[in-house]
Amino acid sequence: MAAKPGSAPTTYSPSLIQKTRPPIFKDNDLDWVRPDGRGFHQCRPAFFRTGAVNSASGSAYAEFGNTKVIVSVFGPRESKKAMMYSDIGRLNCNVSYTTFATPVRGQGSDHKEFSSMLHKALEGAIMLETFPKTTVDVFALVLESGGSDLPVVISCASLALADAGIMMYDLVAAVSVSCLGKNLVIDPILEEESYQDGSLMLTCMPSRYEVTQLIFTGEWSTLDINEAMQLCLDACGKLGKVMRSCLKEAASASQE
């Protein structure tokens, strides 16, 4: 699948001043490039499409380079009887990988860590009080893992929720940055992720300029954190626009 030419801006690379740090790769390594030929602050083209699954209340498909995910949203439906009464709605998230998603054939089982991260990233954006006593299910399936899986899943899930007509304060856009040596590379691919010294993932609601989830690993100085967060926020803002235009496109197509 490829995006229609001229339909939507497909890249969401942050526009940042080229940093003035000296390159860490000296001499013949100076022209170090990323495996897919991108610049350090250049994102993969993002492609979104809503309505990927007919039987779901809402669904979305996202493709960022080799990372391909599909998310479907079911509900709101009645909460299970065993659950306690709740005057706000419940969000149930599940992320799983297909057996063929990874280079080594996997188990295809649920990814508990990602499921809970997805839940935490989305819960702040959804108006849970609009559907009391009920549950919304968000099921994400990673068809192909090509790096930055979790951010793609989160962005795609918020689009699927919007497609299902679940009330939200704003769309949630997610971007991750990897720290390789002294360089920050945005939207890392699988190969880069396996060598990273640290990573930062930021999910935010671009129009409200609010961070819903933030995760770092590795050792960071305050300066690097500042820079990485700025990069992510800028990219999230642009990614939000790409997602919005995808929703508009779908809405205008259904009106015709």
């Binding site: 954006a125 935010c204 609010e210 961070v211 819903t212 590795g218 050792e219």
Partner: protein, 287 residues
């Protein structure tokens, strides 16, 4: 989870706004920390930490294993947390499982650093005995005995204490083997190697209640939080990991403020914890 009346909620929130919490602490004061080391003789290292009514145990066990093919020069470290249903009825079954995974993941993220091992509390390459063939696999297990809020900070401190208590047996490689053969190893039961624990970060959780941040929240205070950020910081003041809990969104500048507050708090916490660990070790040797 915690049933509070409207009056109690107001009391907690009002107290935090006036910098006098219901147990008499200020916003950025920890409860007294009690450390006990060597509580589990079966393990290579262990510690128990009490923070008010929060009570956790961490144990460290090493097993000889084979390094993974992708990283032949690194040992493996795994952290698991178990929430016992004896601590609270809600830990039974799935409720405990969810919290356990959440805590395990947060601890792994905060203490083990990036994939390449940068920013890790323990250098994974120090666990290797014969490159590509034999290494120590370190299993760190946390157990929540009693929960009164701030589990993550307590577990982080317990793991730090347990690791400084840990002695891994010295391994002598018997003879040079060639090719693919597994070398023969001899585990000494007299000589033990200790870890350098100075680089292990502490975890500081800042809980946001209303417009203010508090550290070391009790479970009543946690029930009133809008969001919380757990930041792990090492002695050099570098951030080694960060996770956010709670749904409410935060402005990026507030997060940066919280990081600088956490840095300030962490300095005192590291000093306090180090002196407590040293005292506990001295106690253990006496007895």
């Amino acid at each position: 989870m915690v049933g509070l009346s409207v009056g109690e909620k107001h009391f907690i929130q009002g107290g935090i706004a006036q910098d006098l919490r219901s147990d008499g602490r200020k916003r950025l004061t920890y409860r007294p920390i009690y450390v006990e080391t060597g509580v589990i003789p079966q393990a290579h290292g262990s510690a128990r930490i009490r923070l008010g009514a929060t009570d956790v145990i961490a144990s460290v066990k090493g097993e000889l294993g084979k390094p993974s093919a992708l990283q032949p020069d690194k040992g493996k470290i795994a952290i698991y947390v178990d929430c016992s249903p004896t601590a609270a009825p809600m830990f039974e079954g799935r409720g405990g499982e969810e919290l356990s995974t959440e805590l395990s993941v947060a601890l792994q993220r905060c203490l083990l650093g990036g994939k390449s091992g940068a920013g890790s509390g323990i250098d994974p390459s120090s666990l290797v005995i014969v490159e590509g063939k034999v290494c120590w696999d370190l299993y760190i297990d946390g157990l929540v005995i009693s929960s009164d809020g701030n589990l993550l900070d307590a577990l982080g401190a317990a793991i730090k204490a347990a690791l400084s208590n840990t002695g891994i047996p010295k391994v002598n490689v018997a003879s040079e083997t060639s090719g693919d053969e597994q070398p023969e190893v001899n585990i000494s039961d007299e000589e033990f190697l200790r870890f350098d624990t100075s680089g292990i970060p502490v975890i500081v959780t800042l809980t946001k209640v209303g417009r203010h941040n508090i550290v070391d929240a009790t479970s009543e205070e946690e029930s009133q939080m809008s969001s919380a950020i757990s930041i792990s910081i090492n002695r050099k003041g570098r951030i080694c990991g960060l996770t956010k809990r709670g749904g409410a969104g935060l402005d990026p500048s507030i997060i940066l403020d919280m990081i600088s507050v956490a840095k300030h708090v962490s300095e005192q916490l590291i000093d306090k914890l180090d002196s407590e660990i040293a005292a506990a070790e001295a106690d253990e040797e006496e007895s």
